[in-house]
Symmetry: C2
Subunit: 198 residues, 2 copies
Amino acid sequence: MDGSARGPRERMVYSAAQLVRERGVAATGVRDVVERASAPRGSFQHYFPGGKDQLVSEALLWSGDYAAAWAARYLRETRRPTPSGLFAHLAAQWKEEFDRRGFQRGCPVMATAGEVAGSGSAITEPLRMALSRWEEAIVAALTAMGVPARRGRRQATLMLSTLEGAILMARVYGSVRPLTTVVKDLGPLLDAEFGTDG
Amino acid sequence: MDGSARGPRERMVYSAAQLVRERGVAATGVRDVVERASAPRGSFQHYFPGGKDQLVSEALLWSGDYAAAWAARYLRETRRPTPSGLFAHLAAQWKEEFDRRGFQRGCPVMATAGEVAGSGSAITEPLRMALSRWEEAIVAALTAMGVPARRGRRQATLMLSTLEGAILMARVYGSVRPLTTVVKDLGPLLDAEFGTDG
């Protein structure tokens, strides 16, 4: 998740994603993003003629693709994949983040949703796309395991809901316990369906 | 949830909670709150010498108590309470909100967490307290049904996580489908534990 090796445009998108994860959209200033990305002053307007909305939109889509890639990675790296294993894999990234860096950064989709989900903001559509790409990657992984498409879709909704909420609770309480609890307790449900008629 | 009949102080707390639910903390201006609450200009400083942090803190605690009371109400109104019934009751409030008013307003705890959960903000402690009061009310309801305390605590974490995430997904997609999916699919897990050795 380090964007330092990329060009200024990519670094600004990456930095915007990280700032949104920390403090939400409203409190993320373009100036802070440019500074954090070590981008040349004045380059922002060049790369993002659509302004902050464009920057945040790209940051959301970048985040959705990153999360989707993480979900897809599970299948490549796992010999005997299971729905509960996939869920644990999704949660593991967050446990590692919180263990390593504390609870400062959350999910950019959640932060943005809290601020604009029901509004007419231009970023509601990229927000929807980011969440959808993440969800589709989970559905695809489940389908590849042999879970029927319709059930996979329901399971993806359940996994994403539970994971997002556990991230929220972990950050508020300053503890990874909600994550470990939901991984352990939801696992049997996910695999029971998998085993019996998945 | 109508605060119009109360005094100016209560109306400002209520209005702050609603604005945070719509747009988050950063974009909620004290001036907007005073106006929405139809409170006398200049009364804000009198009632909230601690400024916006105090107002938002009280709005969060009001929200946590409101959610806790809603959870407690389930037991009073239900002849044969079950864990899945409680979860459906929690979700029903949100389905009704979205059906009736659209997806403009979300959970104030989520909005605030997205912006300040990992920061040193003065509102992180009331945020934690608000979530904790809600969770404790759920634990208490489960315990009253006969669920052992430790299991009740885990179930409350699972319920709250899943509900919060489903609210997030519902708002982003503009559909109550995530809520109906998690209520239906998580129910058997909650009651299986209840039935077998709860």
